[in-house]
């Protein structure tokens, strides 16, 4: 089982603990694990794309180089594809998208952005408590991303999305 899959399983486990009275710590950790499951899913995919084979440690270093802000911006841009037609806003024009952005990829991007915001609230904002329903919906969002990515990862647009997660803030320099 990959780290991403373990984190996803952990998220569901924590979200369902304490049947009568769920603890804030478990619910918040569940949301955080759900986000990091998705984060590690994509960081591993990005690293595998950039370093398909290579010296030991290079892929792990590449994975470590991903940053949340760049992923946030890339996810936002892909989320808006259903409005603007087929092309993510601010994707450099010389990058040729092989086809329209699929509903699955748009859903992945939207879910990622939503989870990142909720993870931030779970980890830092104690003014608003988490509850079971909210937490389980977010875990389901992460599970939906895994399922959608499984369908999408062989598409021609998948490499563009993965590279976007890594390089979004560097492409328009």
């Amino acid at each position: 089982m990959s780290l991403a899959e373990e984190l996803l399983a952990q998220a569901r486990f924590l979200a369902n603990l304490d049947p009568q009275s769920p603890s804030q710590a478990n619910l918040r950790r569940a949301v955080s694990s759900a986000y990091y499951a998705v984060f590690h899913l994509f960081s591993a995919e990005v690293a595998a794309q950039i370093v398909p084979v290579g010296p030991s440690g290079l892929r792990e270093r590449t994975q470590r180089a991903l940053n949340h802000n760049s992923m946030y911006k890339a996810a936002e841009s892909f989320s808006l594809c259903s409005l603007a037609g087929t092309r993510p806003r601010n994707l450099p024009m010389d990058i040729d998208l092989p086809g329209p952005v699929s509903a699955e990829l748009i859903s992945v991007a939207k879910g990622f952005k939503r989870l990142q915001e909720e993870r931030h609230a779970a980890d830092y904002d104690v003014s608003k408590p988490f509850d079971r329903t909210r937490t389980l919906v977010l875990v389901a969002t992460a599970e939906g991303i895994f399922a959608d990515w499984l369908k999408e990862k062989a598409s021609g647009n998948a490499p563009v999305f993965l590279a976007s997660l890594m390089f979004w803030q560097l492409w328009n320099k």
Partner: protein, 162 residues
């Protein structure tokens, strides 16, 4: 999304340019050709919420509406035109304008449901699909804030207060 009605309505709270405090719209008077115009044109009467001071027959352009207004109107529209069924266990919703964790302008739309310690997988799936449809609909309006659509059990608010 052209069906979403953004016309002023009696009872709606607004700010008025050049005046302090909040007013309530008491009467709406569209111009005679308003049905042919792409957006509302006409006049309104308003009343100050605390002093009762009235401004009569002022142009709608003098009004300043809350940022959240199009979101509320869009959700109202969605209730009557559901892309995905509006779950009947949603008891309320709230829209809040603030920045997200990255400092970007956002709407936080929270739908409240009755407390449920063990919601069924079907309910979670239905809620997830519903939230996604609301998000898609709001994104289609090209608002200047990102819509984060959430769900919360209603008791969470009580817990905070106690």
């Amino acid at each position: 999304m052209a069906e979403i009605n953004l016309d002023p309505r009696p009872g709606e709270e607004v700010l008025v340019r050049g005046h302090s405090g909040r007013f309530k719209i008491t009467n709406v008077d569209p111009c005679v050709d308003s049905h042919r115009l792409p957006k509302f044109y006409g006049w309104v009467d308003v009343e100050h919420l605390t002093t009762g001071f009235k401004l009569l027959h002022i142009p709608v352009e003098a009004l300043i509406f809350d940022d959240e207004r199009p979101v509320y109107r869009a959700i109202e529209w969605l209730k009557g035109n559901p892309v995905v069924p509006f779950p009947d266990y949603i008891v309320d919703y709230r829209v809040e304008s603030r920045e997200d964790h990255q400092g970007n302008p956002a709407f936080f739309i929270c739908f409240f449901v009755e407390p449920d310690d063990q919601p069924s997988p079907e309910k979670i799936k239905e809620l997830n699909r519903f939230l996604g449809s609301v998000e898609t609909m709001l994104l289609s309006l090209s608002l200047d804030r990102w819509p984060y659509v959430q769900v919360s059990e209603k008791r969470s608010l009580l817990d905070v207060a106690s």
